[in-house]
Amino acid sequence: MTDTPRQGTGDDAFVVRHLSKVFGGSGQVHALSDINLNLKKGSFTCIVGPSGCGKSTLLRILGDLETATSGEVQINFEQTRVPRSAFVFQEHGVFPWFNVLENVTFGQKMASVSKKERVSEARNWIAEVGLTGFEDAFPHQLSGGMRQRIAIARAFATGSPSLLMDEPLGALDAQTRILMQEQLVRLWEVERKTVVLVTHSIEEALLLGDQIVVMSARPGRVKQIIDVPFGRPRSVEMEASPEFAHMKQDIWESLRDEVQASMSFK
């Protein structure tokens, strides 16, 4: 079921080989097992899989926030002052003590970008995610959806060549989510960063990704890698097409067993 490891090329932003991750020294949680992946520069990859299968862990390892227990990860970006990967976290990634502007400039501040430069860059991205007018607001004064948009603006504003997003739209209601998905694709089409996005929503993965990595229940393995055939730009209307419904059904069936394996549900 696992992909046979391919050799990485210079075009690959991330190359993952035989990666395993075990949490808790005594070996209690085997989160990831023998993961092999090649992610091209400028590609948009979506990861789906049942809850607890190690999606966040994999993303963290790609972003150098966690070390693999064994195996190998190559990250092929030149070293600049900004971090190689900017993150959008599943939850609680924005700093409650900074207002919107300060949160969005945070990455550049840590990279010693001059104040003037980072503020003007930040204002751009704040406008892009539709938060203009809220620069001085603190996160707790905003809705969950607005908070998540701060995190997205911050990730883009940092200027990193890759973007790792962990269910960035999970906290949004369905309608806002669709608007944000369209927004996200638009932003990505402008900048063409290497994006890895974890999601629970198959529709979202089909709407956004070039390829979809389907993971198995814990210990997480790569169950399937699916290339998404739809051209860009894509829009929500695409969901009505029979091809979309078909692919969705396929992935859903592949996932269904895994979800049931991962939860004690009759």
Binding site: F87, E91, H92, G107, M110, A137, F138, H140
Partner: protein, 287 residues
Amino acid sequence: MTQTQSVAVRATELDQAIDLEFKREQRLKARDLGLAILTPIVLLALWELAAAVGVLDARLFSPPSAIAERGAEMLADGSLAVHIWATVGRLAAGFIAGSILGVFAGLVMGVVRPIRAALSPTFTALYALPKIAILPLLLLIFGLTETPKILAVAISVFFVVQINTLAGIMQIDARILEAARAYKATGPRLFLNVLLPAAAPAIMTGLRVAAGMSVIVVTAVEFVASNNGLGYLIWNSWQLFQPATMFVGLIVVSVIGALVTGLIILLERVLLPWRHSNSPKKKEMKK
């Protein structure tokens, strides 16, 4: 009745209902404030009455009127101010020194695991050490200066603040730390932009507890070893049997305690705006 009419009637009904609700809220707030002011007044009046009819021995429990008179006298001749400044000076010096050191120690212990492991249990035991009991030792070491008195206050404050700061650091949401690491926050930048603000609410709680405690400690210290300050005033006036003066001291001390606590709360609001932004702003935004 036409459709438009009934809509108009309903709009008026709604307005009336809103108005009633608003008035009720105002009434409740006014009542709360009235009650808050009433309680001490009633207590003082009862005290005055009890002293007047002899339920309380007025020679020992000076009635509030006599205390007020004595307080005015002491204010006029400046003697109260001398004691207040002496106490406030020690309080401020000890509190500031103790809290700065406490925050620093807590942060360092929070970040450096071996230091935390080495000092944490010992500090917990030292925290419970009664501060007036070690005052003689401080006097031995530092002589009869202000140092031991300020130090006694500083030590009390230090442990409370250190314990709270450490707890604050240890309780920082792992996800916040991860976000900081993801954006490559390190060294002093990590410290200033993430650790300190994240631990700030816990530090503030520590300061609030420490404030109450420092007032108690400074009074106790002045009780035992001082020639001025409100603690001395209370002790001395009792020794000299001047109960009205003693009550003036007691009341001033508790007012200072309340003020210091209030000040810390104010400081918290200023320093941690993200925890106290008012809801009107929120509502406005939601519009």
